[in-house]
Amino acid sequence: MEPIISLKNVFKNYGTKQVLKGINLDIYAGQVIGYIGPNGAGKSTTVKILCGLIADFDGEVLVGGLDIKKDALTIKSKIGYVPELAELYDVLTPIEFLNLMAQLYEMDEQLAAERMNKMLTAFGLEAVMNQRMDTFSKGMRQKVLIISGLLHNPDIIILDEPLSGLDANSVITVKELISKLAKDGKTIFYCSHMMDVVEKVSDRIVLINNGTVIADGSFEELKQQQGNQSLEQIFAVLTQGSSTNDASDQLMNAFSN
């Protein structure tokens, strides 16, 4: 089977700082990839490359068999992206914002309007869809962003901390949505710091640190390699070289004087 996303020897520098040091990754259709790593590991750089935002990297990235450096537009139209931190022009209303997105994906107006309506209603935003988002809570904005990433029915969905700010019920909705999308043949690239969620939603976990992949496999495989531990503990051992206990011990030590 051909991988839907394939990264081969991907290097990226910001000035003298090397952020990605040869990433190799093959991702297959229908997989949910949990992409994890500490701050500054190169997660968002990878995401930006996949979304076609960064073109000046070394190596090769193929999406659906197309080279992202040559066919960025075709690839972009197949990707849905949900950014982190609820970043959007909040003086717009959800409908206005989603309309902009729909136009950019050159969607049929009627179809886009119908989908927007259904999706906003499903998230419980139907009452506020014509109100400016500057008064919205973080969770409400995040819901609008999730819709904006799914609206054009992309084959590949890149989620960057999609659950931040969501209430418990919406978290469940989104988690269920992810597995349903995957069953439908969509590929999900899930970046997060929330290990317990990654552990549950992904069928393959890729851990990067200092710009290289240091672990890759299903949660079961990782457990077998690292001893029967939680993903949190595996993460700590692999990225910090020690357990988090040391740091918390040091913090506790601050009280003893």
Binding site: L73, E87, Y89, L92, E96, E106, R132, S137
Partner: protein, 568 residues
């Protein structure tokens, strides 16, 4: 904190034992007060908030420059001493200006001073008693007012002390304090009124417009007042002759000063003196007793407004109609896809973004002031209003000066506090980012220029006749061409994609001068050829062709030509 702040904090904290007897924790009081002052020093407010837009450095030393600004404003008040034949007149004008400016600045600044959401998270969960917190707020406001009112009247004080005497000076200071008290009452009343007629959500928007109006007003007074002084009849003006003047509070204070310095003037003067001393105290008592409780409640509502469900807008129908028209325009002038998205996004952002409005709308006001002044200047010696002849330099100047607003708007197009939201340009399959930019620039042209063009052409037709139109049309076309050229050269980032703080001062000044030079020189050439009709027509055609070509070039900008903010 600078030495003035340190001194003021020491001063207000002097009655330590008094505070302690009230149950106030003076250590906490000092900590809160100092922090508030440091915060205030680093947060631009009022007029400064607009100035900040032009000089984006990490803000600090606000309080010091605020002092200087206040002194400068006080200098403007001094013009009143050149008007009128007696001190009632001079001081009535002086106190009017002082009250007005003080009220405006305080009104605008109080939102940031009084409404600080962070208090809810930072101070309230700590073991701080209510009275300590309230006192800290109160002391902060006192310091704040003190720092605004005293510098504003400083030059006035020096003037009175030097030219009139020491006792008049003491009376003057007393009057300044009374006027300040009365003004604080007025602001409270205004706040309560605004909160009555609108929702807390809209409150901040209203304050924004208030700040813009204030900036324009200061500019206008700076331009107009010196012109008025030269009029000789101003010197003979006597305010006592005006009927209904007794209704104006500044007049009471002026009369009270006059009475207390000379102890002459009879019953009416005594009456005004009593009035000016009692009214401020009565009104403050009224505020504390009746208005303050509900006021605090309302203030809390503003603080919490972001958590509330948004309020539905009332005039939805008319708003919808407006958007339908704009959408029609966008369908007409832009191509489907990215260009139209750029157009609509820019239109909405420029109408709604507080940031953009603060930066660009004052220059709309400056332009209006300037145009009025230009026409006033042409009044000449005669009483009647006479238009300059059709080939006068004034018209060319008016047309070419009009894009001052456009250049400003264009200069701020790429900036936004929400710059991270710019991801939306990069994710969808759009081949040329130039499409967004062209849409945006068209939006700016249609929003800020089209109305002006219509006004200019209609005005020219009715005032000067059809024969004058070709020159105006050429001017208008050249303006559009200049704006598009500047857009082509300077806009290398996506609209609203750069953090507003990143504008470097030096380059923008040079850029500003350079960009102003283009219309001036084109206007000059236009002035030289204005009487050769065939040349004017030919140039108009050429100008239109050039517009079309430059639009095409903007549209064809590719991703390599676009700078992306690093920390996006």
């Amino acid at each position: 904190m600078n030495f003035i702040d340190k001194f003021l904090v020491k001063l207000v904290l002097l009655p330590t034992s008094f505070y302690q007897s009230l149950g106030i924790n003076t250590l906490q009081l000092k900590a809160i007060l100092q922090t508030k002052i440091i915060l205030g020093d680093r947060t631009p407010t009022g007029i400064r908030a607009i100035k900040r837009a032009n000089q984006k450095k990490p803000t600090s030393g606000v309080s010091f420059s605020q002092l200087l600004m206040s002194v400068f404003l006080g200098l403007i008040f001094m013009t009143s001493f050149f008007i009128g034949q007696n001190y009632e007149t001079k001081l009535t004008l002086y106190f009017s200006m002082f009250m007005f400016i003080l009220a405006s600045t305080l009104m605008a600044d109080f939102t940031t001073v009084l409404i600080d959401v962070r208090d809810n998270f930072i101070i309230l969960p700590k073991p701080v008693s209510d009275i300590t917190f309230l006192t800290s707020r109160l002391l902060y406001i006192i310091i704040y007012i003190f720092k605004t009112a005293i510098p504003m009247t400083l030059i006035g004080m020096v003037f009175i002390g030097y030219f009139v005497g020491i006792w008049p000076l003491i009376v003057f200071i007393l009057m300044v304090l009374l006027v300040t008290l009365f003004t604080v009452f007025l602001i409270n009343a205004a706040y309560i009124f605004v909160l009555k007629v609108t929702t807390p959500q809209k409150f901040k928007t209203i304050i924004t417009y208030f700040q813009i109006a204030l900036a324009v007003l200061i500019y206008a007074s700076y331009q107009i007042i010196p012109r008025l002084i030269s009029k000789s009849q101003m010197a003979g003006f006597d305010i006592n002759q005006s009927s209904f003047i007794f209704l104006a509070p500044p007049y009471w204070f002026a009369c009270a000063w006059q009475y207390l310095t000379t102890f002459s003037g009879g019953f009416t003067m005594v009456f005004y003196t009593v009035l000016s001393i009692s009214v401020p105290f009565v009104s403050i008592w009224f505020v504390v007793k009746y208005l303050a409780p509900s006021f605090n409640q309302k203030l809390a509502m503003i603080t919490n407004s972001s958590d509330e469900q948004p309020v539905k807008s009332t005039n939805k129908k008319s708003a919808k109609k407006g958007w339908a028209l704009i959408e029609k325009v966008s369908n007409w002038v832009t191509q489907n896809g990215a260009e139209r998205v750029g157009f609509m996004l820019t239109w909405k952002m420029t109408s709604r973004s507080r940031d953009f409005k603060m930066k660009v709308y004052p220059s709309l006001g400056y332009l209006a002031v300037y145009l009025v002044l230009m026409l006033l200047n042409n009044k000449g010696e005669k009483a009647g209003f006479e238009l300059p002849p059709a080939d006068s330099f004034v018209y060319i100047f008016v047309v070419y000066f009009s894009n001052f607003v456009l250049i400003t708007a264009l200069g701020y197009l790429i900036y936004s506090e929400k710059y991270k939201a710019a991801w939306l340009y990069y994710i969808p399959p759009v081949d040329k980012p130039g499409k967004f930019i062209l849409g945006s620039v068209k939006s700016i042209l249609f929003k800020f220029y089209a109305p002006l063009v219509i006004a200019i052409l209609v005005g020219a037709y009715f005032l000067l006749g059809a024969a004058a139109l070709p020159n105006f049309i050429l001017g208008v076309c050249n303006q559009a061409l200049i704006i598009l050229t500047i857009a082509y050269i300077t806009i290398n980032q996506m609209p609203f994609s750069v953090l507003a703080g990143n504008k470097t001062k030096g380059s923008s000044v040079v850029k500003g001068l350079f960009t102003m030079l283009i219309p001036v020189s084109v206007g000059f050439v236009h002035y030289l050829i204005r009487s050769f009709m065939p040349v004017v027509v030919l140039l108009t055609v050429l100008s239109c062709i050039a517009i079309w070509m430059i639009m095409d070039s903007i549209k064809n900008k590719n991703w390599e030509q676009i700078k992306v903010q690093e920390d996006w």
